[in-house]
């Protein structure tokens, strides 16, 4: 993907905002749920996941959120669904490195690279990471690390 083409990246964000993937409430088959209601912004989303045998078999989310929160979480659900915990953790770490403007290989992040410049609007970093933080917490919880 050509990250120097802003039109393409904008298209990705617009597409995931206007037609978010996996955006619906979870149900009984999801064994994890995190409610993210940030104190500092308006976004109020819930993320559900099914984790079985160290594998993420399903992710969905629902709630009220801005373009960046919605699109970044939508992209996350597509990217991490079907991945092992280990793969997911590596991708999440890579995503946060990208947000922190660290020099990492962006290719594995697929459409999530649309947010590589989100740091230009510092007050919106939390929007681009809300779903990713939720997933990070879910993984920790599934491993019993969450307190």
């Amino acid at each position: 993907m050509d990250i120097t083409d802003p039109m393409l990246l904008r298209q990705i964000i617009m597409d995931h905002y206007q037609y978010p993937r996996n955006k619906h409430a979870g149900d009984a088959h999801h064994n994890h749920m995190i409610h993210m209601a940030s104190e500092s912004c308006i976004d109020d989303i819930k993320v559900w996941a099914t984790i079985e045998n160290d594998k993420i078999t399903d992710i969905c989310f629902d709630g009220v959120a801005c373009t960046i929160s919605t699109a970044s979480t939508s992209i996350l659900t597509e990217l991490l669904k079907g991945k092992s915990i280990e793969e997911a953790r590596t991708l999440i770490d890579r995503y946060f490195d990208m947000i922190d403007l660290k020099n990492v290989d962006l290719e594995p992040l697929e459409e999530a690279i649309a947010f590589y410049q989100v740091g230009k609007q510092a007050n919106r970093i939390k929007c681009a990471t809300i779903g990713w933080n939720a997933m990070k917490q879910i993984i920790e919880e599934s491993e019993g690390k969450h307190d």
Partner: protein, 410 residues
Amino acid sequence: MFDVNKIRQDFPMLNGKTMQGKPLIYFDNAATTFKPQTVIDTVVKYYTEQTANVHRGDYDLSYQVSEGYEAARETVARFINAQPREVVLTSGASAALNLVAYGWGQKFLKPGDVILSTEAEHASNILPWFKAAEVTGAIFEYIPLAQNGELTLENFKAAMHSKVKVVTLANITNVLGYVAPIKEMAKIAHEYGAIIVVDGAQGVPHIATDVEDWDVDYLAFSAHKLCGPTGVGALYGKYELLQQMDPFMLGGGSNARFDICGNILLKNPPYKFEAGTPAIEAVLGFKAAIDYISAIGMENIMAYEHELRKYLMSQIKDMEHITIYNPEAATGIITFNVKDIFAQDAASYINSQGIAVRAGNHCAKILMDMLQTSETIRASLYFYNTKEEIDHFVQVIREITLEKCVDLFF
């Protein structure tokens, strides 16, 4: 003669400051306001020339700063037409409202008593009363708002009954900016034997306030919303009520004497509420701010803000992609959304054009249910804003699109 260009010269934040590389336009005055040089100088002067504690030392410096501190109380009192002994200096409107809900509410409310308020209140005027209700067994009731979100006297009358012991509300609400008919409401509340508490955080900086004429029992406000320092505000209370109520904090300065058996003799109001060393420089700056806006004149400020609002409304009211939630309000608060753009996305774009507005639920979370939106954008004006700034804002609003909001990230 009101001359906005001359006024702007008094504010360092209005002289050459930029945001996102563009001249700063500050339309978030309901959150806080800019400070004129005279307020800044007063604060600094305390640290460079007047540092001493108040009411503590038998030396000239302490005496002088104590005099300055009490002069500030007198200025605050005069500004709202109260007596100085009826003015408690607090850390702000939140502290003042908490003090009433704790010191009066938790002390005097009984199970089944009713606290009457509205769904348009700021968290600072609701949460302390939720707590008072929880502690005392009192019940919370809301005055239904009219369809446009305004509080009408008719609805208030219909909601009032003999179980109501406290009516607590903002005289200007922070989201919709309507002016409540406080004087008439106070009269009715008193007929039922209730007290009326006014959150004046958005009111006092923008309209002339007269606690004696309105006959309200308590009124709270903050300095920083009227060009003063942060961390200071005031609670006005009728003296008899101040005598009856308990302080929120005990400590140095609030007691006359105490002994080893635990007997405490508190000072008289307002001093019994002012334990601990206050934000002395902020109190002095509070006075400077009131002196400053008084010299401009509250009538002039009101008239000019109204004119600015009319000017802004006339340009955006017919824009099809803009939803305005308070078209009829008289004050400088304009609450709106851009259709199909999330408020925070729109606010970010507006920020990228150098304009500060607020997106969110503005600490009035229950109002958002009534407006049927989870968030709005609020532009709030003050007397140092100009028609030129509004022109620029209108241009930005006219041209905003979802694509432009997303493009900020590339």
